[in-house]
Symmetry: C2
DNA sequence: CACGGTATACACCGATCGGTTTCCATCTGG
DNA sequence: CCAGATGGAAACCGATCGGTGTATACCGTG
């Protein structure tokens, strides 16, 4: 009955593989070899191909599994008593903080979409879903915040989010001086969000 | 004396290689094999390695050569009689138009920076230079336009530019309904650009 | 015409790619 | 104690990777 309950000492091969895939594909790009992935995970290639149909499938699963964590990292700690404006600005504050890490390389989902230029790739589908969820969250807050055009504001915010994360990840820009906050504030004000 | 003057009928192998490198690395990513590049250019591998030290060097040269074209595509046709605001908005208008092409895959320089995560890679250096020049152009127009903080506005504009081009290239967003114009206008207004 | 540079075709190098196969060690439930 | 499932080590597959070596065909110039 239990699917993964016995793993008492250390993580299951499946979990180790998914973690390794997330880490290595983020650091080195989706072009990492399965050989390197399995070595990092301490799992044989044989086991990996029993657990997943292909490298692409494992990559997609790995990305999908990370979505809740990704969203939790950007979620305001107190969704109840915070204002929509605060919740939106919090997302960008977290982005600015995360981008200061030496190993920050931008939003992993946007990176996947850029690297695999094929929109039909299973990993691209997952990445698009993750980005769509971020937009939807901005949209909900934009509506609650009384934006004149919540749909427009939400799209503007993801535009800034992706531009900022990509540029910070590529080390062409720094976000630690209030750049995103200033930009988002201007957009929120223009949209009439209180 | 003359470097490339004899090429009367068709382009030199060097030019064919650089064009093929630009096209294929844009369509398929920087991971394209040199075999495919040489086939596309109609040049033998041997000739390529006589003309360039390595694949990386050829890629960097190819990107560098494209910078003037890239900038010309975004340049207002009448720099003399146009206002700074018009010139800035023109850049985004061209971006919105270009993004409607079926084979648009985003800004090639940002893509290179995202794909090769190594900032020291020769192609990354060139790509960073191209992005820096765009920022500098925005900065000049922001100053001339009387922006309160030209440096800030210029950085905000490249943020929007890269976010929009990346998302449009990844087919997660469409720019044909005035999204970027609305966003840039809000930022220009907030900065006090007339 | 003979020359030297340019470009070609093609085989080759070791390494790695995604993926498969065989064999064996280990663990667990009956 | 034994059966069967699980998972790991390593060889192997054809293909491709970036890069070279060799030998030949073309070219304008002397």
């Amino acid at each position: 009955m239990a699917t993964t309950e016995k793993a008492s000492r250390k993580a299951s091969p499946r979990d180790r593989l998914l973690d390794a895939a997330a880490r290595l594909s983020y650091e080195d790009g989706v072009g990492v070899g399965i050989e390197a992935l399995c070595r990092e995970a301490g799992v044989s290639k044989r086991s990996m191909y029993q657990l997943f149909d292909s490298k692409d499938a494992m990559l997609a699963t790995s990305l999908e599994r990370r979505i809740p964590l990704y969203e939790a990292q950007l979620a305001h700690p107190d969704p109840g008593s915070s204002t929509p404006r605060e919740r939106i600005l919090y997302v960008f504050d977290r982005l600015a903080r995360a981008s200061q890490d030496a190993d920050y390389h931008g939003c992993p989902y946007l990176a996947v979409l850029v690297e695999l230029k094929d929109p039909a790739h299973p990993a691209s589908v997952v990445a698009r879903e993750a980005k769509e969820r971020l937009r939807a969250r901005f949209h909900a807050d934009a509506e609650r915040g009384g934006a004149r055009d919540p749909g427009l504001l939400a799209r503007q915010l993801v535009l800034v989010f992706d531009g900022a994360s990509a540029r910070a990840g590529a080390r062409v820009e720094r976000l630690d001086d209030g750049l995103v906050t200033a930009t988002v504030t201007a957009l929120l004000d223009a949209a009439g969000v209180r």
